[in-house]
Subunit: 159 residues, 2 copies
Amino acid sequence: MKKICYSPIGIVHSEFKEKINVPIQSVFSNKKGIIEIYPEFSGGLKDLDGFSHIFLIYHFHLSKGFTLKVKPFLDDVERGIFSTRAPKRPNNIGLSILSIERIENNMVYVSDIDIIDNTPVLDIKPYVPDFDQRQNVKDGWFSNKIDRKEYLSDNRFSF
Amino acid sequence: MKKICYSPIGIVHSEFKEKINVPIQSVFSNKKGIIEIYPEFSGGLKDLDGFSHIFLIYHFHLSKGFTLKVKPFLDDVERGIFSTRAPKRPNNIGLSILSIERIENNMVYVSDIDIIDNTPVLDIKPYVPDFDQRQNVKDGWFSNKIDRKEYLSDNRFSF
């Protein structure tokens, strides 16, 4: 099977230096971070300052290997990896919706980072409610699992 | 800069065979499609049938090259690529939110495909409203640009 290869467009700066005690989703984070876009790509940030939220697509650079069934952070039952947002996946691609605080030159300042420092960035897309919000959504095994404002990672994907 | 390489986990089957006349987002599509997950990864689909929607992450395999400024499908003004969902990007990664109709073995049937036939699939993640819906969103240059139920691609990214 032919491989598909990408070159990072930037890098994440955050206070999270290791895999544990990181907010498991941006909705559980109030920590600021910076998405540094490499200068050769910074022209692509034009107009992004009109948006309040982005999709950030990145590489879980600390994840090695994967299993097809995992016990995700919010459950103690084994779930199929594609029904989870767990970081050890067949392709270790991360997806976060982040709130833009401001953009200065090639730096995108965000207010709800859930990503480890030095994570390579693959893409930024604008979050557009007309495209990205759905009604009548069934959320599978997550149903009734989310009842607090903060969930942090433990060590289950650290090995 | 070190490259990051992935192997596809599956392939898209759809009626769209070329880059023009494809719905530009899944919200503008009522066409069915199939996400075929290769058998060695199909165990990862467990529990996904409890969800109504997925994020599909894939490779825009027909896109070659990129520019940092583009005139996106919904506009005639040049915009920074990262403020658009255009398919010719520094890393040609696509993101669609799709509605699951049913799952049979390694086949995920969806009802709103906006992806070209034979597109390589990189990842599936569950769409979780608690994680993925935001209030008070500013949608930048898209504001007031979306006023119909159907938008199809033209040839602007075909070269």
